[in-house]
Amino acid sequence: MIFPLSRFDPASEIRRLQDDFDSLFSGHSGAVHAFPPVNVWRNEDGVVVTAELPGVERENIDVSVVGDTLTLRGGGEKQSLKEGDMWHRRERLSDAFTRTLQLPFHVDATKVEASFDKGVLTIRLPRAEQDKPRKITIKAA
């Protein structure tokens, strides 16, 4: 049997089908994420949310917090070309965005801190005192 030079590998086709199925049921289920993508770090006392917003000016980023909801808003500074200029490639995203995140607990809005450095937005949200679990002592009968 003569195999054609272009490598047809049935095993990899089956593997690809498996991968596609896996990605359907794994965490990132193929749904398009809202912009900007965020990472969330947490411990018992608070949450840290980070987002990459390269090229956005600090004044154009809006961070607001209510209860257990965080809202990020901003962007929209589209680059426009002068007369006679020509695009070679256009890959960067620069649309305006609004994104709301549900946090794992209520946060103390007065103690939230946000910083923007090298295009990375970092928001520290301490847990609200009322929302902290209360230790209950178990008395001997």
């Binding site: 593997r15 690809r16 991968d19 596609d20 990605s23 990132h28 193929g30 398009v32 994420h33 912009f35 993508p37 965020v38 990472n39 969330v40 770090w41 947490r42 411990n43 949450v47 840290v48 980070t50 990459e52 917003l53 390269p54 090229g55 956005v56 000016e57 600090r58 680059q79 070309l81 002068k82 006679g84 200029d85 020509m86 695009w87 070679h88 490639r89 256009r90 890959e91 960067r92 995203l93 794992p104 923007f116 090298k118 295009g119 990375v120 970092t122 520290r124």
Partner: protein, 133 residues
């Protein structure tokens, strides 16, 4: 990876066959906007986490290579609860020609590198008008 990457995912950089980096950190291709004006070629690269000290731009023959390193910032005492993007270094290379090498400028601001490559004198005057019969 067999699955299609979504428009917003970072794309991993290609390494030449059989060549590896010494570090195990991932390398991504930064998104680029490139436009040409009468006098120069401008390249804008999104590299969040990079500043002027951690970016490297080299031009060898006609290949322009840009690399940026990112210090992973993990908040102390916290664990990752949810992740939508990965953090890694950046690398991308372009072939360019007709550039005035001595006057290339590079500026980094808010994680974006802006490279301005002025066209060389020959490139600017080379335009030959094409007429129809």
């Amino acid at each position: 990876m067999a699955t299609e990457t979504r428009a917003m995912d970072k794309r991993e950089a290609q390494q030449p066959q059989g060549v590896e980096r010494t570090m195990t950190r991932k390398v991504f291709m930064p998104r680029a906007d490139i436009y040409e004006s009468g006098e120069s070629l401008v390249i804008l690269l999104d590299m969040p986490g990079v500043d002027e000290k951690s970016v490297d731009v080299t031009l060898e023959k006609d290949i322009l290579t840009i690399t940026g390193t990112v210090q992973p910032h993990i908040p102390e005492g916290h664990t990752l609860a949810y992740s939508e993007y990965e953090i890694g270094d950046y690398r991308r290379a372009f072939t360019i020609s007709d550039v005035d090498r001595e006057n290339i400028t590079a500026v980094v601001k808010n994680g974006v590198l802006r490279l301005t490559l002025p066209k060389s004198a020959q490139a600017r005057t080379r335009k030959i008008e094409v007429k129809t019969q």
